[in-house]
Symmetry: C2
Subunit: 681 residues, 2 copies
């Protein structure tokens, strides 16, 4: 009772602590490695360039190519699931979809080293998305007690067998990833809340919060340790913090116009970015035959032109720091910024979706802050007398582009504020985000016809999707992850639950079922759950529960529940389950599970029977056949279900549960306590 609950709560918090520490350390490791690689690269190139310009340039290209290809090698050969940002996959997992391989130990390792390679190699991508995936992997591995494949599992950690507990852990991991990537603990909590989870329970908030706080402490401690020179010559941080707290303090109302312009540009460029990445991804998929995708490795590092070098040659972090910088009016010329914008935008589009761990956050900030600064230059020229900082406009540009492409709201705001350390700009960031959102909506609703006509040159189906959906949803769609959107489709209002099932044949199992039948049913379809039907004494049928495919497979594999007689062996039916360790039924998150083809049964076995009663879920969720599909959708999504049974209208109502029935419990309990107290006095 109480003790078990207490133990359970304790384990959960302990895991949250471990996730925080693990993710924090992973982030520190990646940052230090990237910093050190960048440092070595720079010093080597610098030494050689003294002697020969061409040799230096070649060495620079070679190092970068080596880094990038090592990353590609790791991903393609070792951990294919670690490609991309990983956020769409995690989103899918938390939305209720089991994507094989995304939470494996090897994915974790691949992600860490792949990120180091690709970011260290100077590609137009960031390490933030991958860190979210890393946090989720750590959480999931902890939740299943380590990696079984690599014999790193530990028995006493295997506390979490329920899907919900695991999802909670993964949610904590996501928050930890964001908190570590941006050093933005509150932003992490909000990101997990807004962008990743499909449903949310307020109990979880505390734990997510705790994890984020732990990450903040770990990262800070590690950076303090690095400051004393223990992290190699160049590893002095590398976390993105662009402190612009000395920047613009206030804004005047005339400035709202250029800021609105930034919002509009952000909305358009962001939506266009999403659209272009769709085309690119489809093109790759269609013409490159799903292989390699090594198109982009020729473009990213052969520029060493003019004064653009301050942007191009720095690490992305430093480039952004320059773009955001206050008190530096006319540091950049409009031409340089425009050139950079066009080139980097193209690069970012092309780099997107390649076979390396790739975050879209930092590239987004780069693009956004470039055009923001451009608008800032014009604003400063136009309103000469005002105290305007170009850096402020760069920040707003970054916010608008991220808003336009990722569509996060509150978490984006908080992250932007946390990384720039300037709270005064918060209302402006909010406004710019809103304008970019409204702009997208307007374009989507008014110009959709025009766009569709213009863009019929391109594959048509994708038009508009990109305008309506965020980057992550789209990536998920492209990867075939069936995310349930938060809003049911309008068409569902007129449909009933029965219509949604269509004329599908329901495959149900009897309570005591022949093994041969089970095998043939499992072979004949890919359903994951089957209703179990029993007969009452007066011959009526009765739905007694839901049997999962995975549990059937476990039963078939273990064979210990096979029986000779076709009769229910035990009327109470519960004692049998003891033969099984409960954990047998819990599929490890990171493995693909067993398949029916892996199970070998003798012909004797096939003639035996199984009584399913002890193993089924006796109270699956049900909806009446004529419930509106919108309602069904909401139940499904809000409760995170995998199956709902559609049943005929009931013949009678046994009772009506109202709020009071759910509260009466409490009073009973209270009065029980009161009684106990009064007797103990």
């Amino acid at each position: 009772g109480k003790l078990y609950v207490g133990y359970n709560v304790g384990v959960k918090w302990f895991f949250a602590l471990l996730i925080g520490i693990g993710t924090g350390l992973a982030a520190v490791f990646i940052n230090i490695s990237v910093e050190n690689f960048a440092g070595w690269k720079f010093s080597l190139t610098f030494n050689i360039i003294q002697k020969s310009y061409v040799a230096g340039f070649l060495i620079y290209i070679l190092i970068n190519l080596a880094l990038v290809f090592s990353s590609v090698y790791i991903i393609t050969q070792f951990a294919p699931a670690a490609a991309g940002s990983g956020i769409p996959e995690i989103k899918g997992y938390l939305n209720g979809i089991d994507i094989p391989g995304i939470l494996l130990f090897r994915t974790l390792i691949g992600k860490i080293f792949g990120s180091i390679g690709s970011v260290g190699g100077g590609l137009a991508l960031g390490k933030e998305g991958p860190l979210v995936h890393i946090g989720a992997c750590i959480a999931s591995l902890l939740g299943q007690g380590g990696s079984t494949k690599y014999h790193l599992s530990s028995r006493w950690l295997q506390g979490f067998k329920s899907e919900r507990d695991r999802r909670d852990l993964v949610t904590c991991g996501c928050a930890a990833g964001v908190a570590a990537a941006f050093r933005a603990p509150v932003g992490g909590v909000l990101f997990a809340l807004e962008e990743v989870t499909s449903w949310w329970r307020s109990q979880l908030m505390w734990r997510v919060f705790f994890t984020s706080a732990i990450v903040a402490v770990v990262v800070r401690a590690a950076m303090g340790w690095c400051k004393s020179g223990n992290c190699g010559h160049f590893g002095s941080g590398g976390f993105i913090i662009w402190d612009i707290s000395d920047g613009q303090e206030d804004y005047s109302f005339e400035e709202l116009l250029p800021m609105a312009v930034i919002g509009i540009i952000g909305g358009l460029l962001g939506a266009l970015f999403n659209q272009l990445t769709i085309y690119i991804t489809r093109w790759r998929r269609n013409y490159l035959h799903k292989k390699g995708n090594r198109v982009k490795f020729y473009c990213s590092k052969d520029k060493e032109y003019n004064d653009l070098a301050t942007i191009f040659f720095n690490t992305q972090d430093d480039a952004i720091r320059n773009l955001f910088s206050a008190k530096t009016i006319h540091e950049f010329s409009a031409q340089s910024l425009l050139t950079f914008l066009v080139m980097f935008y193209t690069l970012a589009v092309v780099t997107f979706g390649t076979a390396v761990p790739a975050g879209q956050f930092v590239p987004g900030i780069m693009i956004g802050s470039t055009y923001g600064r451009l608008v800032g230059i014009f604003t400063v020229n136009h309103y000469k007398k005002l105290n305007i900082e170009e850096g402020t406009y760069a920040l707003l540009g970054a916010a608008s582009f991220l808003g336009g492409s990722m569509r996060m709201t509150v978490s984006l705001c908080v992250i932007m504020v946390e990384i720039t350390n300037n709270l005064k700009l918060l209302p402006l960031i909010m406004l710019v985000l809103l304008i970019s959102k409204v702009c997208i909506l307007l374009v989507y609703s008014i110009w959709i016809d025009v766009l569709q006509n213009v863009l019929t040159l391109f594959p048509s189906q994708a038009v508009g999707d990109a305008f309506n959906e965020g980057l992550y949803e789209e990536q998920a769609r492209l990867r075939g992850i069936p995310l349930l959107e938060s809003r049911p489709k309008y068409e569902m209002r007129k449909m009933t639950a029965r219509e949604a099932c269509g004329n599908q044949k329901v495959l149900s199992l009897p309570r005591v079922v022949k093994v041969a039948d089970v095998v043939s049913i499992l072979r004949s379809n890919k359903h994951n759950g089957f209703p179990v039907i029993d007969h009452t004494r007066n011959g009526e049928t009765l739905v007694i529960g839901l049997m999962l495919r995975s549990h059937l497979l476990v039963l078939l594999q273990s064979k210990i529940d096979f029986q000779h007689s076709p009769l229910p062996c035990d009327p109470r039916g519960r004692s049998q389950a003891i033969r099984h360790n409960f954990s047998e039924f819990a599929k490890p998150v990171s493995s693909k599970g067993i398949s029916i083809n892996d199970i070998h049964l003798s012909s004797d076995d096939l003639e035996m029977y199984i009584d399913l009663a002890p193993f089924l879920n006796p109270s699956p969720y049900i909806v009446p056949e004529d419930m509106s599909l919108t309602k069904v959708y909401n139940i499904f999504r809000q409760l995170g279900l995998r199956h709902i049974f559609v049943v005929p209208r009931a013949s009678r109502v046994i009772g009506v549960i109202t709020r009071k029935d759910l509260l009466i419990e409490e009073e009973i309990e209270d009065s029980a306590i009161t009684e106990l107290q009064s007797t103990s006095v």
Copy 2:
């Protein structure tokens, strides 16, 4: 179709805009009024005190008494629902409980003027909670198209008849209230998310966010206008912003110990505060016979002692500003702080729950920052060499006390950061909040027995509740608002849905029902919903839907659907509903609705029949009888239901809906669009 959806979305956003503007203006009005009252009070007292000390003192007391009593008069005579902070009631409303009167126009007016009186009169309470209530009132009134009672309604605004739309609006209103009270737009969104709503849809986030941003802009514009001297002599702002961005930049690890101490003190004092307010409220209720509660008006303004005056005589905002102030080591002596702490704590406990609009936020900050500063003094004395600011400790103290009493996490963090404008302290605030939370949990779980033995002197039932629940939950409990907690009770795991219904008699209605039967059923019980049962041709019964009491009352009142024959009049059954304007069935949120006793029916009427088919909800939510009560609880709370039917196990399964069935829709739609496009080319 699309056009209607577009119109609907447009109206929603327009309402969000109006809520933002309205709440912002209300906040500005209250602030300017309070500031001006405080100014007049001060200048008058100052003038008189030049001549006679006693007269000045008396005048000061009289003005305060006049202000406070005017507030009490407004509340008791005009708008009783406006007493207290209003947050528990709003929480209850959004949790699904209809509390009469809380969202009336008169409550709004009472809240605004009551707040001005009580805060202007110098009571130990704040205007933040009331502002949340004000925002919610504005939202609700807008949602029902104005106040019908005061003939301020407008037809074209009556777009929102569904409960959900209204709740969404009220959620926006809450966020607007917090955003206006603290000038913390992001904090407002999070507060609405974390503390107020029971369920949350991500579509809502954007609108809440928009509302908050509008509030920020309105408040800023108003303050800009005030700076040019248009708001009376003293009305130069009054919004709580305690800018401590010049404060401590960094922390050293030695400081974590005193900060942990602050967290512990905060947890204990906060929980104790909750506990004490419970006793006070019960005592008042038992001994003061629910009237007046004017106990406290003798204590709040007769101190004009020593150097404490800098805290006591200032407005609370200025006092806090002093307590938080950096670079002012040893401004306060430990004795003064201790005296103030004890007195203000007592005052705050006593003032709590009286008949004036009362916010607990600012008093909480006052108490917390006092002991925080106390700890800060000791820390500064102990670690002499470090760069430590007492103001930082005051801030952490405030966070810890609020965490201990209100239990908000993320929103509290963000609000504290937004009002103090110092992001660097965020991890520390998080840590302190967590420690205070853990401290409460430990005390609750380990010492609960001891506490129960010691505290049996007091009414026993409340012990522990206070340790486990936040201030608002508790207030709600004390006011008899049956909030469903986010976590089902442990005992529910072993119960089934059928057991929760107990042996209650289900009162069901036939499809065509005699008016006399309806009247007697409605008189005999207080149920709000009734199952409707019909017979099929082969004599079986069939549950065809849920009929709400309120809809039955509308039918009885209008009488136009009465018919003479006991037969269903129309097999399709839908044409009848046209006789009714849909809005007739939508009960205004702010009124108490009609009662069965208000309806007068002749004996002829009683002999007639009603066909309920067109008016019932044809697909109510159902659960099978043996579903675990925990599951039922989650369905109930997550979907925000009011009724669930418990039905027998189904005899067969018509279909199984899985994720794929809910996604197929989309593909159908997509292919339809594709077809359209290909034909239009």
